[in-house]
């Protein structure tokens, strides 16, 4: 068994293989993970919108030992990841970290948020630091405006224009 604690280091090995095959291979995998995540989240997000997203990430915050602040208001959900355990483990690793490890997160979350007609702004800030800011808006124009403030804005497969 690869312990669940070590999944991210296994994930990192999968990413390195797929990156060598080409960008479309990585994106196909992110979409597969996104589809897998739909099982836990899609109905919740559809039914409860931002509140459902808050519930999901609050559960993740605890179960994945994230140092993360969550803020919900009428217009948006904001996740401020102060110390990301996923990238932290990949960096604390005897195997080489994939340089774009952070990209997978928007890679699976983006398509899911598109599906529930909300708008994701994913600022990774710096791929070498285990921190990021994620904002999910109800209103598309507010998301577009917020994108201008991002230091390192992430995209995802088939991002809605």
């Amino acid at each position: 068994m690869i312990p669940s604690d070590h999944f991210t280091r296994f994930y990192n090995e999968v990413f390195k293989f797929l990156e060598d095959q080409g960008e479309e291979h990585l994106e196909a995998y992110w979409l597969e993970i996104s589809k897998n995540q739909e099982k836990h989240t899609l109905e919740l997000f559809k039914e409860k919108g931002l509140k459902g997203m808050y519930e999901y990430w609050d559960h993740i915050r605890i179960e994945e030992n994230c140092d993360m602040d969550l803020k919900l208001d009428d217009e948006k959900l904001e996740l401020r990841m102060n110390v990301c355990p996923s990238l932290s483990k990949v960096l604390d690793n005897d195997a080489e970290p994939m340089k774009r490890y952070c990209d997978h997160c928007a890679g699976w979350i983006g398509p899911l948020i598109d599906k529930v007609d909300h708008h994701l702004v994913y600022d990774v800030i710096d791929r070498n630091k285990p921190q990021c800011v994620v904002k999910i808006f109800k209103d598309k124009e507010k998301a577009i405006e917020e994108e201008k403030n991002a230091k390192l804005l992430m995209g995802w497969p088939k991002k809605k224009k």
Binding site: M1, E13, Q21, A95
Partner: protein
Amino acid sequence: MKPILLENLYIKVNKNNLDQKLRYNDGGNVHMDFHGATNTTIEFIINKYGIDTMNDIFKKVGNDVYKDIKDHIKNGNIKMLAKHWQHFFDRENADYNISINDEEIILTVNRCTAYEHVKKLVGNVSPNFCDQTIKTNEALAEDTPYEIKTEILGEAACRQTIRKRA
């Protein structure tokens, strides 16, 4: 030689003042759903690239991610693998036991909670789910004086044995 309990082993290890600190010594909560993502990944890679590719990735996990344990095995300290097993099977609340004698260490998993969790999540567990154990173990032992044999005893049950090569 009659097997002894792992608890006894650690008394012995401590008395010998061996540095048995695990390279990856995770604490805190456990996110079992990651096993579901592992199952999805195994299916994805095998369907798209074939089983040899999946096995090559597990080989990298054994050789590179677990380099520290492998180095210990190379140097004859197979107790580090036992400690790794104990730490993570405890964290995942598996039903298992470890026995140790002069020649070998045997991990018997009576109820693998990773397998059971995936079954609960998705219904059908990949027939290659346990390859993560078999192939990672093979890589851990490769180019060392030891072999690790993984026997699947039934659903969610296996026996893993590390012993010196004949």
